[in-house]
């Protein structure tokens, strides 16, 4: 990849990711509505909402960190998007990018925590503490899964992981290490923050959690950041287990497939409590991930 193309993709890939994830948000609302036998908003409703939020007059700021935290979160999300190969495009990837992703994925969480903490609202602090507990829950199986993938391929590069799965459908990660794929699939709704694990921003319990003091442009930035998180998690799943893709079109279709299954699960479940969620994360997904890791270590690559 030449330097010029690299710069072009660094600029365009976040925009493409944003468009895809905003479309996903719209599909999420429409399909959930259809499952609940409602008519639902149009698919472009998130665009209307974002337009409104961006043109609203923000009437309050709670301090410097309140402004900067959101920017840190957004920057972290954008960098993570650039690190994940999306359909053969990987402008920032190098040899150890899987390790970098593990760390960079935490920056948006920390940014949101800083912004929410500066607002001084007790609901926001509750939301942040729930987010960190939930992170503690899903990081354990997720790290085990990544360790399995790295051990199996003897590489720390996500591009290499994708290339290894390029031969045929049978060389996809989901067939090579099915136990790890099951574990990741089980924690997918936790990482996406959709039902039954939307504990962090539970509107009826803690007034939408960390976002409780966000209004207008702040809420717009927070929504964009969340939409990018949606893209990151699903893209990571597609890259690890569904063989990535050679072009953006196939990649988008694979992401859509994963996301639709996520919607179908999310639309019919109520919400877990935080202790139930933690117990769930450390039980079945961790067990599957650990079994997958041991199996890969015994059998080898």
């Amino acid at each position: 990849m030449s330097t010029f193309m690299r710069v072009v993709w660094i600029v365009t890939l976040p925009v493409i990711a944003l468009l895809i994830s905003v479309l996903f948000l719209g599909l999420f609302r429409k399909i959930t509505a259809r499952i609940q036998r409602r008519y639902g908003p149009p698919v472009y409703q998130p665009v209307i909402d974002l337009t409104k939020l961006l043109t609203q007059h923000s009437n309050i700021s709670h301090g410097v960190m309140f402004d900067m935290g959101l920017i840190i979160a957004l920057a972290g999300s954008v960098v993570t998007v650039l690190l994940i190969p999306a359909g053969g495009i990987h402008p920032l990837s190098s040899s150890g990018d899987l390790l970098v992703i593990i760390y960079v994925m935490l920056i948006p969480v920390l940014g949101m925590a800083l912004a929410a903490g500066d607002s001084g609202n007790p609901n926001a602090s509750l939301g942040v503490s729930r987010k960190l507990i939930l992170g503690l829950g899903y990081e354990v199986p997720f790290l085990l899964v990544l360790l399995t993938v790295m051990t199996h391929g003897e590489t720390t590069s996500l591009v290499n992981v994708v290339q290894m799965q390029a031969d045929s459908i049978l060389s996809w990660g989901v067939f090579r290490f099915p136990l790890s794929a099951i574990a990741t699939f089980l924690i997918l709704p936790v990482m996406l923050g959709i039902h039954p694990f939307d504990i962090v921003g539970a509107p009826q319990e803690i007034s939408s959690g960390p976002q409780v003091e966000f209004g207008g442009k702040y809420l717009a930035l927070a929504t964009i950041e969340q939409a990018l998180q949606l893209f990151i998690v699903i893209a990571l799943f597609v890259d690890l287990f569904l063989g990535g893709a050679a072009n953006l079109g196939t990649f988008f279709l694979k992401m859509l497939g994963v996301f639709l299954i996520g919607i179908f699960i999310g639309a019919v479940y109520p919400r877990f409590r935080i202790d139930q969620a933690l117990r769930y994360c450390w039980k079945w997904p961790t067990l599957f991930a650990l079994a997958g890791l041991i199996l890969v270590m015994i059998i080898g690559g």
């Binding site: 909402d49 409104k52 939020l53 043109t55 923000s58 003091e213």
Partner: protein
């Protein structure tokens, strides 16, 4: 409804966003809140109009005053209203906020909401049906289109009048503790 009219949306995105994305403050102000759950769930589905209940006033731009307003609730309503970002709209729901309704002679409720807050529209009835909310929303669209909803501007211009009335029922301490409402950004 010209929600899908792209040319109009690009020409005036501000108005497009304001019209078709009305987020309601999720705040039980009286018995009228009973009409909200059927409105936002599968039976009537307000989400198809872009109307969505939000958990906090900071995220909302439409305030439904559902039912009678007791003096204690009025405090919360005023605080919530001043937290909402501009532009914001108030719609009084039911006959109680209009003239006191059933509680006209009560010592503990206010009879005319528009003396304490600017109200952009009224839905009469006891109780109004959920369909009435949708009629109100379509009326509100027309008013936003014509630039006729200026409640938040009236509140800033006539803040002395509103504060005087608020002081009469809520007392001096409340007025002194509440900050002046923010003025419009340039």
């Amino acid at each position: 409804m010209d929600r899908a009219n792209i040319r109009k949306a690009i020409k005036d995105p501000h108005k497009w966003g304001e019209k078709y994305s009305l987020w309601v403050t999720y705040f039980c102000t009286g018995c009228g809140i009973m009409e909200i759950p059927p409105t936002i769930t599968a039976r009537w589905d307000a989400e198809r109009f872009g109307v969505k209940p939000m958990a906090t006033p900071r995220q909302a731009n439409l305030f439904l005053i559902t039912g009678y307003v007791s003096i204690k609730t009025l405090k919360a309503i005023i605080i919530s209203y001043e937290q909402m970002p501009n532009p914001k709209y108030t719609v009084a729901f039911g006959s109680c906020p209009i003239d006191g309704g059933l509680y006209y002679t009560s010592y503990n409720t206010i009879n005319h909401l528009d003396r304490y807050l600017p109200v952009d529209g009224w839905i009469a009835g006891c109780m109004p049906r959920p369909e009435a909310i949708f009629i109100a929303v379509t009326k509100l669209w027309k008013m936003i289109e014509g630039g006729m909803v200026d409640g938040y501007k009236r509140y800033e211009e006539n803040i002395d009048y509103y504060r005087r009335n608020q002081e009469r029922v809520l007392g001096r301490e409340f007025i002194e503790s509440s900050p002046a409402p923010m003025t419009e950004e340039p």
